[in-house]
């Protein structure tokens, strides 16, 4: 009798030990973004329960407001995981919004969309070619491109907003709903889903991570790392141009300011999401939560009644704190 009780309990404690061991070995730093997200969410939910933080409208708003950043950040995840950076995404979005609006008013919706995508292809190709073929650091190339793209956008429009009157375009790109779901949420869901699967489940994704982790070893393994570097910058440019069209559709106009400063929010989202700034590791789902966390903080601070200067200070502090917790020992 005694014996049976003991033997019945033994595996239990063993199991408990195993669980403890697994938890101990669990690298919680990798999940700090999810922990952080939940903590901040609960914090605001309690603090702002009377300000309507938890209302479905407000929660949907958070998603909607972070959609463009999320999408840009998905492209940025590839660039950063490959140990490069793209500072030109914000102004690429602005230029794309402008070109889309101008082509659309001239020739209609399809040429308008093609014009927007063309902006991304051209900017991304130039960035990629300069980085991979000439070996110029992406920081410098895309810093230059940041100025060029926004300058061109301002120049060809003489700084004037370009209104978009095409209802179909506006509904499709950001203003409308797909069934009950806001269009912007559908767009970001598509980008996150494709981005996550490609990075973690395809040959290309593995090669991006290997190139970012150790370019020499990737070269010796027969990976064309120049092509990989070109491709990630191309992806980032095209993704940014789609984000630009979403600005254009939501705000029913193209304007050179759209997307200004988004590169910093996108980089923050990517790093918060656990992608290594030095390359070699990256998670698109992490990036989504990084972007949502930033959106959550913005929303909560506004509801809490902080003015915009205070918001900036708190937001900056939270980002530094989160990254500090997530970094490797």
């Amino acid at each position: 009798m005694n014996n049976t009780t003991i033997s019945a309990q033994a595996p239990k404690t063993g199991g408990l030990d195993a669980v403890k061991r697994t938890l101990g070995e669990l690298d919680w730093r990798r999940y700090v973004i999810y922990i952080g997200f939940v903590v901040v969410f609960i914090f605001f939910a309690v603090l702002l329960r009377d300000q309507g933080f938890l209302s479905p409208t407000n929660l949907l708003n958070i998603f909607r407001q972070t959609a463009t950043i999320t999408i840009i950040a998905v492209g940025m995840t590839y660039v950063i995981a490959c140990a490069e950076i793209d500072l030109s995404v914000g102004s690429t979005a602005g230029l794309s919004s402008v070109c889309t609006a101008m082509a659309l008013s001239q020739w209609g919706i399809v040429p308008g969309i093609l014009a927007g995508l063309a902006v991304g292809l051209v900017v991304g190709s130039i960035n990629g070619a300069l980085v991979s073929l000439l070996g110029i650091p992406s920081f410098l190339v895309t810093l230059g491109m940041l100025g060029i793209a926004v300058g061109v956008a301002q120049w060809i429009t003489a700084s004037a907003p370009q209104p978009i009157l095409n209802e179909t375009f506006n509904m499709l790109f950001g203003s409308g709903n797909f069934g009950p779901v806001p269009g912007l949420i559908v767009w970001s869901a598509i980008f996150v889903a494709i981005g996550a699967v490609v990075l973690s489940r395809t040959k290309f994704g593995r090669q991006v991570l290997a190139t970012g982790g150790n370019r020499n070893a990737a070269d010796f393994t027969g990976i064309n790392t120049k092509r990989i570097k070109f491709q990630v910058l191309l992806i980032s440019g095209v993704v940014a141009s789609v984000a630009g069209m979403l600005y254009a559709g939501r705000l029913e106009s193209g304007r050179f300011q759209w997307g200004a400063g988004d590169e910093l929010s996108a980089i923050a989202a990517v790093i918060l999401g656990g992608t290594s700034l030095f390359g070699g590791a990256g998670s698109v789902v992490g990036t989504l939560f990084g972007a949502l966390l930033i959106g959550l903080i913005n929303n909560g601070l506004i509801l809490a009644g902080l003015d915009s200067s205070q918001q900036q200070v708190v937001r900056g502090a939270i980002i530094i704190l989160a990254v500090a917790l997530a970094r490797k020992k």
């Binding site: 150790n214 070893a217 393994t221 064309n224 590791a281």
Partner: protein, 502 residues
């Protein structure tokens, strides 16, 4: 020459990580003016013991005495203050600074108002080099100097901080023969000045050449400390491995004559820069071809050309009788070649990625289902490779960084052999690998050749070349100076002579 007085004494040092005992009451003592070799297989506890001495880790129990007095070493600064200096295997210099700036990094001589006095630093650096009796320009930028000078700068840096005990970890690994000689001369000069040296090396000949005593660690315990005149190399090897490895380093006559098999790889007048000049050779299926030569003789460069990393200026490569255009590693892999590169940490592995991801990197096409990678197939494939090559790894998901040198090398081998190449080029396949793993790797090479693969082995270690090669090409200044059948080489010495060109 040797005084009896110990410079450093480590008494019954124990250390564990996560409940696993790595060092178990180890005593280690180095006398003033002594070169003391520290030997042991991977995981024997050598590096942990040295890291405790340097203040990187703290021991769980035991004490350290320097010059007879007990000292607390809880940081690298403490170790420096106690006169213990380290010459790193992976150099710890700032390449963009000058030699003098590196030597006094963090302890710069200052002028009257607290500004750094670079001229004083240069002067003092020159004094240190004069004492070392070597010629190095203290104002030269480190990145522009060769590896041998980096090492001299490292040594000077330690000496400038008044180190009395220097730890040298595989100091000759990246040195050419004459540079090694110069280092040995320097070591004996340092000895006469009463400086003690802890010498960690896998190369037995070096240990016998310069060390006075040897301590062997096995499984975290001290096996013995003995004057080298009292131990034979066989005893040392046996002590390290824990079993007899006789015969591993002897050549075994192959069952069939590979030279009669069909040629797999033909090189015709390959030329690329100064290091590969008009090189022609033929490699047959099932044959192991050794490439011998001094550092800088063009061995590695030849491998790079064959693998498409550097492009040919003239000449052609034929694979299975057909001309192959190889201008990138992708072409080389498609043609059935694989290269195990010289520097596995920099060229062979993505250190922060898991063992599994590293293994699968060249094999991604094999585990594709449609456009996506099949995770289950990847797990199965990596597990079978880990098993086949007996890689010791806690879990395939763990970063490859955590493995020992020997196991890392097995991962590189496994990764490439998974691609089923026809021609395998191995550049220094056993560098920095413990002797047990070394014989395993040599066995693998033999098995591969028996399975019909054509193999090229580049190595600076003659016993190793002689143990596996059916034929040896001797390179000199980028050209083939001799071609020797294994049966024409009597012993290590005759190969040495062929390489030296006498």
């Amino acid at each position: 020459m040797n005084t009896r007085e110990p410079a450093v004494e480590m008494r019954s040092i124990s250390k564990g990580f996560n409940g696993v005992t790595v060092l178990n009451e180890v005593d280690f003592e180095v006398r003033a003016g002594e070169v003391h070799a520290l030997a042991g297989g991977n995981g024997a506890g050598k590096s942990t013991l040295m890291k405790i001495l340097q203040g990187v880790y703290q021991s769980d129990s035991g004490s350290i005495h320097v010059g007879g007095k007990p000292v607390e070493i809880t940081s690298i600064q403490d170790a420096k203050a106690a006169g213990i200096g380290m010459v790193f295997q992976e150099f710890s210099l700032v390449p963009s600074l000058t030699v003098a700036q590196n030597i006094f990094l963090g302890a710069e001589p200052q002028g009257p108002i607290g500004l750094i006095d670079d001229r004083e630093a240069v002067r003092r650096a020159r004094d240190v080099f004069t004492e070392m009796e070597v010629v190095v320009d203290p104002r030269a930028q480190v990145s522009k100097l060769g590896t041998a000078y980096w090492q001299l700068t490292e040594i000077a840096k330690a000496l400038a901080q008044n180190a009395r005990v220097l730890i040298m970890d595989e100091p000759t690994a990246s040195l050419a023969k004459h540079e090694t000689e110069a280092l040995f001369d320097l070591v004996s000069r340092l000895k006469t000045r009463g400086i003690s040296i802890i010498y960690i090396s896998h190369r037995m000949d070096e240990v016998y050449r310069i060390a006075d005593r040897i301590t062997i660690l096995r499984d975290g315990r001290r096996l013995l400390t003995e004057a080298l005149s009292n131990v034979t190399p066989e005893q040392i090897v046996e002590g390290i491995v824990g079993k007899k490895v006789e015969g591993q380093l002897t050549y075994r006559q192959r069952e069939h004559d590979p030279a009669s098999a069909s040629p797999v790889l033909e090189a015709r007048s390959l030329t690329c820069g100064k290091r590969v000049r008009d090189v022609s050779f033929t490699l047959h299926a099932g044959e192991i071809l050794g490439l011998a030569g001094l550092m800088g003789s063009g061995r590695t460069e030849l491998a790079r050309v064959l693998f498409g990393i550097d492009s040919l200026e003239s000449g052609e490569i034929l694979v299975r009788g057909k001309k192959a255009v190889i201008t990138s590693p992708q072409h080389a892999i498609a043609a059935g070649l694989a290269l195990i590169p010289e520097d596995r940490r920099d060229q062979g592995l993505v250190l922060d990625h898991s063992v599994r991801d590293n293994l699968l990197l060249p094999l991604l096409d094999n585990i594709k289902r449609g456009p996506l990678l099949n995770a289950a197939a990847g797990r199965a494939l990596s597990s079978s490779l880990i098993k086949k090559f007996a890689v010791k790894v806690a879990h395939p998901n763990k970063p490859v960084r955590l493995l020992s040198g020997g196991n890392q090398q097995k991962v590189v081998l496994a990764k490439w052999l998974g691609t089923e190449p026809d021609v395998l080029i191995l550049d220094e396949p056993t560098a920095g690998v413990d002797i047990g793993t070394k014989s395993e790797i040599l066995d693998m090479i033999r098995e591969l050749a028996n399975a019909g693969k054509a193999v090229i082995v580049i190595s600076s270690e003659y016993p190793e070349l002689l143990a596996v090669s059916d034929r040896v090409l001797v390179l000199r200044d980028g050209s083939i100076s001799r071609e020797l059948k294994r049966s024409e080489i009597a012993d290590e010495e005759s190969l040495q002579l062929a390489v030296q060109g006498v």
